[in-house]
Assembly symmetry: C2
Homo-oligomer: 232 residues x 2
C-alpha cells in the first residue's frame, strides 16, 4: 500500500510542512508492518528511527527490572512516536512500543530527521509541540497517581482514552473502547482485580457497559463527576 505525501499532512508534527518536504520524508523512510502483539522497538534499544503510525494502535509502555509495566500512552493512526532519538544523538528508547492490533508505520531515520530540523524551524516547533503536550499530560497523570484515589484515576483514564481513541459508535450508544482490564490497570497504576470490581460497579449504576476487552461508556458525564470527586 502506497502512502501519499498528502496523507502525511494529518501528522501534527508536519502540519506546516511544504509538499516538497513531505516527499523528501517519504523518500527517506521505509514502511514497517508489525502484527498484533509484536514490537516496533524495545525499551533500551538504540533510537535509530522515529515512527509515524499509519494504521493500527500501539501502546508505549515502560517496565521495571521486576517486569511490572505501566502504559505511558496509546498511539493511534497518524501520530508520531519514538521521536526522542531525533533529538539526542545517541539516544535509547525509554519505552517499548507494542502493537495492540496489526499495524503499519513509517520509519524515518533519526539522523535524517535531525538534519532536516537544522534548516526547518517548523519541524522543530512541531516536535516541541508534541513534547510539551506530552509533558503536560504526564505531569497531570503523575499528580493524579500521587494524590487521587483509584476510582478517580480510572475515571480520568477512561475520559482521556475516550478523547484520544474513542470511537463514537453509529447507534449513538456511547463511546467504545478496546482495552482489557489489565490494560486499564497498567494505565492507572492499579491491578486488574480492582479494575474489574470498579467496572462491575459502574455497570450496575448504568454508567457503562463492559465486555471482553471492551468498555462502552454510556454516561461520560457521570465519569467526569467521579473524576472530580467532590465528596470528602
Amino acid at each position: 500500500m502506497q502512502i501519499l505525501a498528502n496523507e502525511l499532512k494529518q501528522v501534527n508534527v508536519f502540519q506546516n510542512a511544504p509538499d516538497d518536504d513531505l516527499h523528501l520524508i517519504l523518500q527517506n523512510s521505509i514502511s514497517r508492518s508489525i502484527e498484533e502483539g509484536g514490537y516496533f522497538f524495545f525499551q533500551g534499544d538504540s533510537a535509530r528511527y522515529s515512527y509515524i503510525l499509519t494504521s493500527g494502535q500501539v501502546k508505549l509502555m515502560q517496565s521495571n527490572p521486576k517486569g511490572q509495566q505501566v502504559n505511558l500512552r496509546t498511539i493511534t493512526a497518524w501520530e508520531m512516536f519514538g521521536a526522542l532519538g531525533a533529538v539526542h544523538a545517541d539516544a535509547n528508547y525509554p519505552a517499548s512500543a507494542q502493537t495492540l492490533e496489526n499495524c503499519t508505520a513509517l520509519a524515518v531515520g533519526s539522523e535524517f530527521l535531525h538534519s532536516m530540523m537544522e534548516t526547518r524551524p517548523y519541524l522543530s516547533f512541531g516536535l516541541m509541540n508534541l513534547m510539551t503536550d506530552y509533558i503536560q499530560e504526564m505531569q497531570s497523570r503523575y499528580r493524579e497517581l500521587a494524590t487521587e484515589r483509584v476510582e478517580q484515576r480510572v475515571a480520568n483514564a477512561l475520559i482521556r482514552l475516550a478523547g484520544q481513541s474513542g470511537i463514537r459508535s453509529k447507534k449513538k450508544a456511547g463511546i467504545e473502547l478496546s482495552f482489557s482490564r489489565q490494560d486499564v490497570a497498567e494505565m492507572t497504576g492499579t491491578t486488574l482485580y480492582t479494575i474489574s470490581r470498579l467496572l462491575s460497579e459502574w455497570e450496575r449504576q448504568g454508567i457503562l457497559k463492559t465486555g471482553r476487552e471492551r468498555i462502552q461508556i454510556l454516561r461520560p458525564h457521570d465519569l467526569v463527576k467521579i473524576a472530580e470527586d467532590l465528596k470528602k
Copy 2:
C-alpha cells in the same frame, strides 16, 4: 548585580550559543528577585516569560482542585524553567514555581525566545534536549509511583536529589540535602508521617542522618540497594 554573557554559557540550553546571541538574550530580559516562599508564576498563568535561575532554588509543583500538591522538579542555578510558553503561542504554565530560598532569575519574553528559535536551530535543539530529559525523568517517576512501594520510591527520590542538587560537604561526611519531610512526601506521592517513620528507620540503620529540613546521606549505596528491592 550584573549578569555576564559568559555566565549564560552555563545554561544547558545555551551551550552552543554564539556570544552575540547571549548578549541579545541579556538585552531582552529582565532580572527578577523573589524572596523565599514567593512565586515566579502560578499554575494557570499565561506563560509570557521563560526563566533562567541565576541564584537560589525553585520548586515546580502542581496542585489539584482540592489543593493537594506534588513536586515535579527542583530547579537549581543556571537551569531554565517555565519554557513551555516559548513553544505554544498561548500557553499557560502547567505548574507553579515557588522559591525555596531567596532567588534571582532572568526572565526572557516567550515571544522573543520563540522568534530567536526561528533562525537558530541550536536553540531549538537545546530546548528539545531539556524536554526529552525531563520526559524521561517523568516517565521513570511515573512508573515508580505506579509499581514501586513507598520505601523504594523514597530511596529513588533521595538518590535523584543527591545527583541533582546534593552538596558534598567538605568533611566527606556524605551528601547534604535541604528538604522537609513534607517536601519529600510531595515528591514521592506519600505523606509526611510515612517519610518521618522511614527516615527514622534509616537513621537507626546508619544509612543517613536527619535534622530539621535536612537529610544527610551517609551510605548512598545502601539506598541504591533499597531502591532496587531485590527481596520478594
